[in-house]
Every structure is written in C-alpha cells, then in structure tokens.
C-alpha cells in the first residue's frame, strides 16, 4: 500500500472511531430502551441480553404520548405554515432592496440572538392575563415569532440567487408586483421553500423553553413531556429511554431528507454548502 493510501485509511479509522464514540450516549439509550430492567441496571459490560419492545409499546399505547405527539404536530405544522408564508414574502422584498435591507437583516439577526428567557416572561404574563395560556394559539404565535428571523434569513439566501433581470423582464411584460412574486420568484425558489419548511419544523418540534412556559395539560408538547417524564424516578429508566428514542426518530427522517442542505440551514443561510 502506498503511503498516501495508508494515511487515508488511518484517517478514516480515526474519524469513524471518533464518530462512534460521539454516538455512544445515543446508542446506550437505544439499548436501554430495549432492555429488561434486570439488564439495564447491570454493572457488567456484556453485550448479551434479551431484547424487548415492551417499553416502546407502553409509551405509545398506554401512556399519553400519542396526545403529546398530536400537540407537537399541530403546533409545529401551523407554525411553519404561517411563518413560511409571511416570512417568504418578507424575504422576497428584502432580497430586492439591497442597501435598505441591511439594517433590517441585522435587526432580525439580533432578534434571533437575544435570550428567549426574556420573551418567556412577558409571554407568560400576557398569556395569563388574556386567558390564552395552555392554548394552541398562544404557542403558535410565540413559535411563529421566534421562527421569523430564521425563516427570513434562509429564504433570503435563496431569493438572492434569482437574477434581477428576470424581475425586470417580468415588470416590462406587465406583471404586477404580486404576480412577479408569485409567478416568477416563487417557482424558482421552490426547493428553498422545502428546505426552510423542514428546518422550521425541526426548530418548532425541538423548542423547549417557550413550550415549557406556555403549555399546560392540554397543549403539552413532546419535549416538555419527555423532560418531565425522564426527569422523574429512575425506576422508569427503560420506559423514559423508549420515549426519548421515540421522539428522536422523526428527526432521523428530517436529517435524511435535508442531507444536502444541512450546512445552509444550520448556518442561517450564510454558508451555501
């Protein structure tokens, strides 16, 4: 083997080793979720045990998790629908006003950066006063607001790829501003819409602090439920592991769908990977 090829092999093995090490907490939770308590509470490292799906069954058939999943789904889907519609329009406009857009974009970046705890307090008080606590509406509104900066930034990065000449041609051909947006710009950025929608779903699905503050028994989402559940008695270890693994599964689907766009989405549209 040449020196170069053996170096590649060493590099590959080292990186794989690191990745596996990195995945250990997840793998060990997956194993716990299919272990009988006697195997879970064991101090031996033996990999042999009798797997069981009993705890996964209990989580989804006997506990309230289907309800929490429904809440999570309703809130995330409504959030993304609203956030993407209004965010796309704003992003389109911002992509067409280059100089004046700068302060607005910086302001949006600032909104993404500021501590959510500072929003959680007034949200909580306002929801209490208006009787909106523990309602979908309050949670969807809050989630839309914190999703906006991200949606606008990411969509803007897609609109930025549309050549301005196209808009000029459309205007000359007599398109109204709305037609230019809906008939010319939107079809071009369609892949971007999907990417942004999926990332928006991921963000709302994962949101914890605001959900913790605004939700109640009726609107509890999966992250809030799992935090309460897993934080409880350790004698339910296998059961909470099954729940935590269960709520992670949809995300594996997200990642597979988004593979090629991960860099762009995670970096706020700043890096086009």
């Amino acid at each position: 083997m040449s020196r170069k090829a053996s170096l590649q092999l060493v590099l590959f093995v080292v990186l794989c080793g690191f990745t596996l090490l990195n995945l250990l907490p997840i793998t060990s939770a997956i194993l716990t979720s299919v272990k009988q308590p006697i195997d879970a509470y064991s101090r031996s490292l033996s990999p042999w045990f009798e797997p069981t799906l009993e705890f996964h069954r209990q989580v989804w058939l006997e506990k309230d998790f289907p309800r929490f999943l429904k809440n999570s789904a309703i809130i995330s889907i409504a959030t993304v629908t609203i956030s993407l519609s209004i965010g796309t329009m704003a992003a389109y406009q911002l992509s067409r006003m280059s100089v004046a857009a700068r302060p607005i974009l910086l302001g949006l970046l600032g909104m993404r950066m500021f501590p959510h705890i500072l929003l959680a307090i007034p949200f909580f008080v306002l929801a209490q006063q208006s009787g909106l606590s523990d309602t979908y509406i309050a949670m969807i509104l809050a989630f839309v607001a914190i999703n906006q900066p991200f949606t606008i930034w990411l969509m803007r990065s897609f609109f930025a790829d549309v050549p301005a000449e196209l808009y000029e041609a459309a205007t000359i051909d007599g398109c109204s501003p709305w037609q230019t947006f809906a008939r010319i710009a939107l079809p071009i950025v369609r892949p971007g819409l999907w990417v942004t929608a999926l990332f928006g779903l991921l963000l709302s699905y994962n949101e914890f602090l605001l959900a913790l503050v605004l939700s109640g028994p009726r609107t509890k989402t999966l992250p809030v439920a799992i935090a309460e559940f897993g934080g409880e008695d350790i004698s339910y270890w296998s059961l909470s592991a099954a729940a935590a693994i269960g709520i992670t599964l949809p995300i594996v689907v997200f990642v597979t769908l988004l593979q090629r766009h991960l860099v762009r989405g995670l970096s706020f549209g700043a890096v086009k990977g």
Partner: protein
C-alpha cells in the same frame, strides 16, 4: 457567497472574503423603488406584536415589584436593577456563565477545526460520516440532555460502568460543583461541536485548491497547511461561527435544565437558569424581567464588540 460546488476562481476568492455580504449584482437592484413594501407588512405585524411588544412589556415589568404568585404589584422604578447589581448571586452567575461559555466554545472550536480538517483531507465516505457526526446536534436538545444524563448516571450510567470495570472510581458528575460545571461544558461541546465542524468544513472546501497545491509543493506539512493557509483563508467564517456559538451558549437552557437544573446548590446556575428560577419558581416576575434585560444588555455589548471587531478585521463580514 460560499459555494463549494462552484469551482470558478474569482467566485471563490470573493466568497472567502465575505460570507454574509449583501449581494449587489445589478445596479437596478440598488435603485429599486416599488410600492410593494406591503410584502414586509405581515411579518412586521407579527414581529411587532409578538416580539417587540412583549420585549417592551418586559422592560415595563422590570420596573415593578411583581410577584405573580401573591399578585402584589407595585411600581418601584429601577430598584430591581440596583438590587441585582449589588447581588452576589447575579455576579456569580454572570462569571459562571462566562466561564462555561468560554470553555465550551473554546473546546468546540479546537475540536471542530481538527475534525473539519480531517474530513477535508479524507477522500471517501465524507458525506456519510457527516450525517452521523451531526446527530447529537440535530436531535431534540431535551432528548440529548436526557441521553447524557443517563450516560453520566451514578452506578449504572455507561461511562461509570466502564470506569468501574477499569477499577477507576468514577467522579460525582452531577453532585460535585466543579465536576458538574465540567459536565455542562461537555454536554454543550457534545451537542455543538458538530455544528462548528460542519461550517468550518464547508468553508475549507471553498479555499482555492491552487493555493493549497502551491503550499504543498513549497513543502508545507499537514499542520502548516492548516494554520498558515486554511485558517487565514476562512477567517471570516471562523469569526461568524464563533459569534453564533458565543451567543447561543450564552442563553443555553435546555441542557442545564435537564442535567442539573443549576445545581448542586447554584454551582451550574447560569444567567438564563437564574432568570428562569426567579420567574417561574419564585414567581418574582419583576426581578426576573430585570435580570433578563441585564442579560440582553450584556449580550448586546458582546455582539457590538464582535461586530466592530469583525468590521475592522474584514470589511463586510457581517
């Protein structure tokens, strides 16, 4: 902008200079004036009523002594602020936050840079590896915090079982003040290093290959290439990723909430955790709002410093 796919020289050189610059492709865009700013209206309405208004309301609340449990509410002006600025718990949680953030972000950057460079040098299997590497970053933060909690759990957690099998007595990961802080740092690093890696890796792919080739022919070794060519070439991106990480870890909440809830005692109580406790455990809404406002001011100061620094270093990095 940065596109590893495009191989044109001029584009790449331009891209390494400014990842976030506003594109100006034709002059018509600069002079674009249209009455269609109506497009901004829905978003502006939502942001105004659900973001700006609550923010102002939080400022307003911070001027009150307001306990939502007992319902007492009286205007006390800036007393909440003067109380906090004289409060050791506030200063301790501030220095603690700064310590945790600095250690975590430093660790993430060093590790991320090394792994990204390893991936850059790797010829095959990169894409599959990235998906697996990224898992801890993508999964629900609460779930990943639970995974770590079980991983570090006394007696039965995997790491402790391994240590005990090696007859090393494991440390008290959550119960001892300094170990708990380290566990929090590790938790943040575990979750966020993949993000840093991914962005840096994408940046390295945009570096012009003729430059790296030339350096290699001139006899630059692997690490000389990294520190003399790669790092300077992706400098704006490095600043970008550090800025994002700095601000995100500063407000990081989910992991601490699940792992230690600020304990033992107040050993891992960051500013966000302190604010949460005083608002939702002690129900002191006024004081908590003042804390939140102070956190915001500190973050803003850091952001402004960073942006100015970036502007000085690279015109137009932001």
């Amino acid at each position: 902008l940065i596109t590893p796919a495009s191989r044109s020289h001029s584009e790449r050189v331009q891209s390494t200079r400014s990842p976030l610059v506003v594109q100006r492709r034709s002059t018509s865009r600069v002079f674009y004036t249209d009455k269609s700013s109506l497009f901004l209206l829905p978003s502006a309405l939502v942001l105004g009523s659900v973001m700006i208004y609550p923010l102002l309301y939080a400022f307003y609340l911070s001027l009150f002594h307001y306990n939502i449990g007992s319902g007492t509410r009286s205007l006390i002006g800036l007393s909440n602020y003067s109380f906090l600025l004289g409060d050791t718990r506030f200063w301790q949680s501030l220095t603690r936050t700064a310590g945790i953030v600095a250690t975590a972000v430093g660790l993430e950057f060093c590790l991320g840079l090394l792994i990204a460079y390893g991936l850059y040098q790797l010829k095959y299997g990169t894409r599959a590896l990235i998906v697996f590497l990224l898992m801890p970053n993508i999964i629900t933060p609460v779930a990943s915090a639970l995974f770590l909690r079980w991983f570090f759990m006394p007696d039965f957690g995997l790491i402790n079982v391994v240590l005990m099998n090696l007859s090393v007595s494991p440390p008290d990961w959550f119960g001892d003040a300094s170990w708990a802080r380290l566990t929090i740092v590790l938790a943040d690093a575990w979750q966020q290093t993949p993000f840093v890696t991914l962005v840096l890796f994408a940046g390295m792919n945009t570096v012009d290959q003729s430059i790296t080739e030339a350096a290699r022919i001139d006899g630059a070794g692997t690490f000389k290439l990294l520190f003399r060519i790669m790092v300077p070439s992706i400098r704006p991106l490095i600043l970008f990723v550090l800025a994002i990480r700095l601000m995100d870890s500063f407000r990081f909440f989910d992991q601490i909430f699940v792992l230690t809830a600020g304990g033992p005692g107040t050993a891992t109580e960051t500013l966000t955790m302190y604010t949460y406790t005083s608002a939702f455990r002690l129900l002191e809404i006024g004081e908590a709002s003042a804390l939140g406002v102070l956190t915001l001011l500190i973050l803003m100061a850091i952001t402004i410093l960073l942006i100015r620094f970036m502007y000085r270093e690279e015109r137009g990095a932001f």
